[in-house]
């Protein structure tokens, strides 16, 4: 009998796009070309021209997470090869990005409020038939992209999608968003689209063993294995999850904004980011702590650390429904999460509107408006969630910034009695260009950029929310402070870091108001009712 093996708990499959760490904006055919043309190639070309500047910059911890490749000089030829390959492979995407720039320029300088019809003749070839030219109500011209149609165009390029398999043996993974994954000996790189069904078969092997040949066949591998594939598997079964009290609501904090809520009839996971279990570092919940089925995955917004493909793909086989905020549609900065996740193989994605509600077996999920954290761009695909299960209520605020406290006056009746508020307080966000620079088509001064930060609430703002919604318990979360998250956040907090200071202040102020409060870190479990 062929021995059966499990996929290792700490096996990692990094989804890549042109060998850059993938996130929803690299999936959408509206945004991916902008990132390839305006970010990836520029960063790589800058590295090839000035490797020393990149190396020197990253010696300064303040610069980590900045626009510098974390590679040494010996990698210049490999980066040059990747530039060549990207230019060839993604030629249509680069033409698309150029066309967007040209059309924007035409409209911004010449559309003056009169009919836009004459401009269709000037739409650059790559965009013809994929864009509608529109004014907003202030007569500012703009481009509406037919995003769903673009998924059927050459600008949606599954050939650029791939997965990089390896085993995680520590929490020291390098920051992934500024450096491409070059070929490395211990990694197994497979050209597969994210939607490949074989991935589900392999990821199921975390819990259900199969012969190794089952996995090779699932991924369509041929030829001899040099050990790298086999190394992803083990004959060790996963540890058994602790049995759960079937009554009441159990809440488990997995780190960052990832929280699992379970009742007898419903399981919900917010913003899935799961730390790998490798026997070292801080205690954590991991894949083995997840239930066999997750009824709802709730995504609060499209940022890389909240809608993370790396975690979502391995869970795909056990997720009932993914709920995502609806986007504004057609814009360059706000692609559809639904379309991106559907193209990545999720069959049951539903969009939720502000104050929209989904009934579950023993409660409901309601979308509550989310302001801020998006550089004041008109990005609608962001929401917080009010989860009510068995009469207990939880508000997951993610990175929303209570910049307009009056909003919560309006919401307090709708939210009603609130047991737990999870408030994100990463209040030292990056300048807007860090994330959105590639899709911002007008030049930006440093002053604009520095003032439009991607930041969540500080203590004052957080208290505005607390005072109006009066939760019984406040948890500060989504700080990116777990040691296994530095590859996503590049954050290394000290006790003096502003978010830590602000979180401490908020916890103290809540306590003076008689509200239980705590800053979450690592893992946490609570049982209600």
């Amino acid at each position: 009998m062929t021995p059966k093996v499990f996929l290792r708990q700490n096996a990692l499959a990094e989804p890549l796009f042109n060998r850059w760490y993938a996130w929803p904006y690299l999936v959408s055919p509206v945004t991916a070309p902008m990132y390839v043309g305006n970010l990836h190639l520029r960063l790589m070309e800058s590295f090839v021209a000035n490797p020393q500047v990149h190396i020197a910059a990253l010696k300064n911890p303040e610069m980590s997470g900045g626009p510098f490749l974390s590679l040494d000089e010996s990698k210049v030829p490999a980066v040059e090869r990747l530039i060549d390959k990207t230019r060839r492979q993604s030629a249509p995407l680069l033409e698309f990005a150029d066309a967007v720039r040209d059309l924007t320029r035409i409209l911004m300088t010449r559309a003056d409020g009169a009919s836009l019809h004459p401009f269709y003749a000037e739409v650059p070839e790559p965009l013809k038939g994929f864009v509608e030219l529109v004014y907003d109500v202030n007569n500012h011209p703009g481009i509406r992209f037919l995003e769903s149609l673009l998924y059927f165009s050459p600008y949606y390029d599954e050939e650029a999608q791939s997965l990089d398999f390896s085993v995680v043996n520590g929490d020291d993974r390098a920051f992934v968003f500024s450096t491409p994954r070059l070929e490395e000996d211990d990694r197994l790189h497979l050209s597969l689209p994210y939607r490949a069904e074989g991935l589900d078969r392999v990821f199921r092997m975390r819990e259900k063993p199969q012969p190794l040949g089952f996995a090779t066949e699932a991924l369509g591998l041929s030829g001899p294995d040099d050990g790298r594939f086999k190394g992803l598997f083990t004959d060790q079964p996963p540890r058994l999850a602790e049995p759960r009290d079937p009554e009441g609501v159990r809440v488990r904090y997995f780190g960052h904004a990832c929280v699992l809520i379970e009742t007898r009839d419903t399981t919900i996971l917010t913003d899935p980011v799961i730390g790998y279990e490798h026997g070292r570092g801080a205690a954590r919940f991991s894949f083995a702590d997840l239930p066999a089925r997750i009824d709802y995955v709730l995504i609060t917004h499209a940022h890389q650390d909240h809608c993370m493909l790396e975690t979502l793909l391995p869970l795909r086989h056990k997720v009932g429904e993914i709920i995502v905020p609806r986007n504004s549609g057609g814009g360059l900065a706000d692609p559809s999460l639904k379309l991106a996740l559907q193209s990545a193989g999720f069959s049951n994605v539903s969009e939720i509107d502000e104050l929209g509600r989904v009934e579950t077996a023993d409660g409901s999920i309601t979308s509550i408006p989310f302001f801020g954290e998006h550089g004041d761009l008109n990005i609608r695909s962001k929401t917080t969630y009010l989860v009510r299960l068995l009469g207990k209520s939880f508000l997951f605020c993610a990175d929303s910034n209570a910049v307009e406290p009056t909003l919560y006056d309006h919401l307090s009746d709708i939210v009603g009695d609130l047991d737990v508020a999870f408030i994100g307080m990463e209040c030292d966000g990056a300048p807007m260009s860090w994330l959105y620079g590639p899709v911002v088509t007008a030049p930006l001064t440093r002053r604009m950029d520095q003032s439009r930060r991607l930041d969540a609430s500080d203590c004052e703002r957080g208290m505005e929310l607390v005072k109006r919604l009066r939760p019984r318990t406040v948890y500060v979360y989504a700080m990116g402070s777990e040691p296994w998250l530095t590859y996503l956040t590049s954050i290394h907090y000290t006790e003096q870091s502003r978010p830590i200071v602000q979180a401490r202040a908020l916890v103290a102020r809540c306590r003076t108001l008689g509200i239980c409060a705590e800053t979450l870190f690592g893992k946490k479990e609570l049982q209600l009712g």
Partner: protein, 655 residues
């Protein structure tokens, strides 16, 4: 340079000389034999460090505004610290570092430091429109930008590493102030200067160390040495600053830095007087103004270099007559040949002369007047001016096609890689061996000394929604300069005021490229073969400015009279802004000087920026102590600017 023999037997004869007699060929070869000893294999910082060793205590920099000074040794130490900091940031030979600073000690320290680190500086004028600044940063690929906090906010949000000399002063001051290891080479990149490009975007001229060294060492057009005091008044993005800065600092001279954004004639005069300036560069327009308005202020000078555009003979004669002790030099040259290619030390100018010659090739530089087949034209005939020699830039940054078009293989030099730069300028050789400049072969012109491609302005204007077609031309002004006029045909049913068109162009182009005058036409005049007939374009009549609000007092009338005169307008609306009426900084300097004379008052030029309409200016002058208040305001601004621009790195307090 090994010039080939021109004479001899037919076989070895160079066809490039075929239109010359053997005698003429020998003449032009001797004329071009400008070889002179100079440290051609040295770099700029190596020569500077030599001056530091020679006279460490000598004054290198002086602030014109407040008299602060920096010795060669102190300047060197500050530059060394910054250079080491830049090395630590990864700056290496050929790497570009942008300087987003005003004229200041910091700017000179930065240039030296970048070169010492082996890199090349790219001046980025803090007043450039955002789009253009983004273009310069992107095109140059600058990996580091040097600025100061108050200016840095206006930088484009790009990914270059930003170093603020004020807020990062602590880290810089912790570096050793000893000379860093030598980096760079004579043929290494020293700086990139961006000039107007005919295809609609500015182009970067990549200048090498040797070009600069050949400009300021072993020179024959001016005396450069430790006893000279230079004034640094040219914009850093303009190649005259190359001459001012390195002419002083590579010869042990003293550099007086005028940091006022738009120095008026008063500021120039005060700097010359207070700091005993001996050597001054003035662009043609400013030269003409200074001669007309304040000639006596130039008397202390030993050397006055003027150029960048055509000089007016009557003014040249006035200088020769009234300041006989001052050597007057007409300097000619494109950035592609590192500031100067030919110079004419004007000893006299015959009454009959209609132009001021541009002289002969300067040391280690060759000039050729060639026909379309690249043969020397006979003396006296018009040819296109080509430049060879050690001043040639490497080419246009990031633009091999454009480089190949303008930098061509030399038929006069046996060395395989010898090149000539094709200027597009027309000239002829006069019987006395001097060159006479005869204009352009294309539509490039000079405005305030800056090169401007008319087609770059035209393509910017064409992007305005209301503009159907347009042509931009340069017209002679009464002052002898050139003034841009945009001839615009609007789309049917469209309207666009001058102010609107001007505001539109200001978002895309630097100030000097925005035409002061707009003329509406129903169609563009065409030649028989369908090209725009520039000669048939009407002269702009100066009546376009409104008269809604005519002058109401004597002061207003006087101011309006000056404005009408400098702006070439027949009537002025007293509530219109000087700049909206077509004013620019050079015209403002003119107006300032004339107003002071006519009104018999003294006021800083900044008053005109504060009160830009006839009415507001008149009111400010009438309200008693207004000039004093303005003076106060000026002092305050100078104080602020000093803090901004010249904040010395303060050492961290010892703990």
């Amino acid at each position: 340079m090994t010039p080939q023999a021109a004479g001899g037997d037919a076989k070895s004869a160079n066809p490039a000389f075929s239109r010359l007699t053997p005698e003429e060929a020998r003449f032009v070869q001797a004329w071009n034999d400008t070889r002179r000893d100079y440290p051609r294999d040295e770099t700029i910082p190596a020569l500077f460090e030599r001056e530091v060793r020679r006279s460490p205590g000598a004054t290198a920099l002086v602030s014109a505004e407040d008299g602060r000074t920096l010795t060669y040794d102190a300047l060197n130490r500050r530059a060394n610290q910054l250079a080491r900091h830049l090395r630590d940031l990864g700056v290496r030979p050929e790497m570009r570092v942008a300087i987003h600073l005003e004229r200041s000690f910091d700017a000179v320290v930065s240039m030296l430091a970048i070169l010492k680190a082996g890199g090349a500086y790219v001046p980025l004028d803090p007043r450039l429109p955002l789009k253009r600044a983004s273009h310069v940063l992107e095109d140059s690929g600058a990996s580091v930008v040097l600025s100061v906090e108050p200016l840095a906010d206006a930088l484009p949000a790009v990914w270059a590493r930003l170093i603020c000399l004020d807020s990062d002063a602590g880290a810089i001051a912790r570096q050793s102030d000893a000379n860093p290891p030598r980096a760079g080479s004579a043929l290494g990149l020293a700086h990139i200067l961006y000039t107007s490009g005919s295809t609609g975007a500015p182009k970067g001229v990549a200048v090498v160390h040797r070009g600069v060294v050949r400009l300021v060492r072993g020179t024959d057009f001016a005396h450069l040495g430790p006893d000279e005091v230079f004034l640094q008044a040219a914009p850093l993005s303009f190649d005259a600053s190359t001459f001012e800065i390195w002419g002083a600092l590579l010869n042990g001279g003293r550099l007086v830095i005028l940091s006022a954004q738009t120095p008026g004639l008063d500021d120039l005069a005060e700097a010359i007087r207070a700091h005993a300036v001996t050597t001054l560069w003035l662009t043609a327009g400013l030269f003409h103004l200074a001669v007309d308005q304040r000639l006596s202020d130039l008397k202390p000078l030993r050397q006055l270099l003027a150029g960048g555009d055509v000089l007016s003979p009557p003014r040249v004669r006035r200088v020769l007559e009234e300041i006989p002790g001052c050597a007057l030099v007409n300097g000619y040259g494109p950035t592609e040949s590192t500031t100067f290619a030919a110079c004419h030390v004007i000893r006299s100018l015959p009454a009959s002369a209609a132009t001021v010659p541009i002289g002969r090739p300067i040391a280690n530089t060759q000039i050729y007047l060639l026909d379309s087949e690249r043969r020397w034209v006979p003396p006296g005939e018009t040819g296109e001016l080509y430049i060879g020699g050690d001043g040639l830039a490497r080419g246009y940054w990031n633009s091999p096609e454009r480089t190949a078009e303008s930098f061509v293989k030399s038929p006069f030099d046996a060395e395989a890689d010898a090149r000539l730069y094709r200027t597009g300028d027309l000239a002829r050789l006069l019987p006395d061996g001097n060159l006479e400049f005869l204009g352009r072969a294309d539509h490039q012109i000079k405005v305030q000394g800056f090169r401007v491609e008319l087609s770059e302005i035209e393509s910017a204007l064409a992007r305005h929604a209301a503009v159907s077609c347009n042509v931009v031309d340069a017209r002679q002004t009464s002052a002898g300069g050139q003034r841009l006029v945009a001839y615009v045909v609007l789309r049917p049913g469209e309207e666009a005021s001058d102010a609107e068109l001007r505001a539109f162009l200001q978002q895309e182009l630097p100030e000097y490229m925005v035409p002061p005058a707009f003329v509406r036409l129903s169609s563009l005049p065409l030649t028989g073969n369908g090209k725009v007939d520039r000669r048939a374009l009407p002269e702009p009549v100066g009546a376009s400015a409104g008269t809604a609000s005519p002058p109401r007092s004597m002061t207003e009338e006087t101011i309006a009279q000056v404005w009408r005169s400098v702006l070439d307008l027949e009537a002025i609306d007293c509530d219109e802004n000087f700049f909206d009426l077509g004013g620019n900084s050079l015209l403002l300097i003119d107006a300032h000087a004339r107003l002071q004379k006519l009104l018999a008052i003294s006021m800083p030029i900044t008053t005109l920026f504060e009160y830009p309409t006839v009415r507001s200016l008149a009111r400010s002058l009438a309200s008693g102590p207004a000039p004093d208040e303005s003076l106060q305001a000026l002092r305050e601004r100078v104080r602020q600017r000093r803090q901004v621009c010249d904040r010395r790195p303060t050492p961290e307090p010892a703990s």
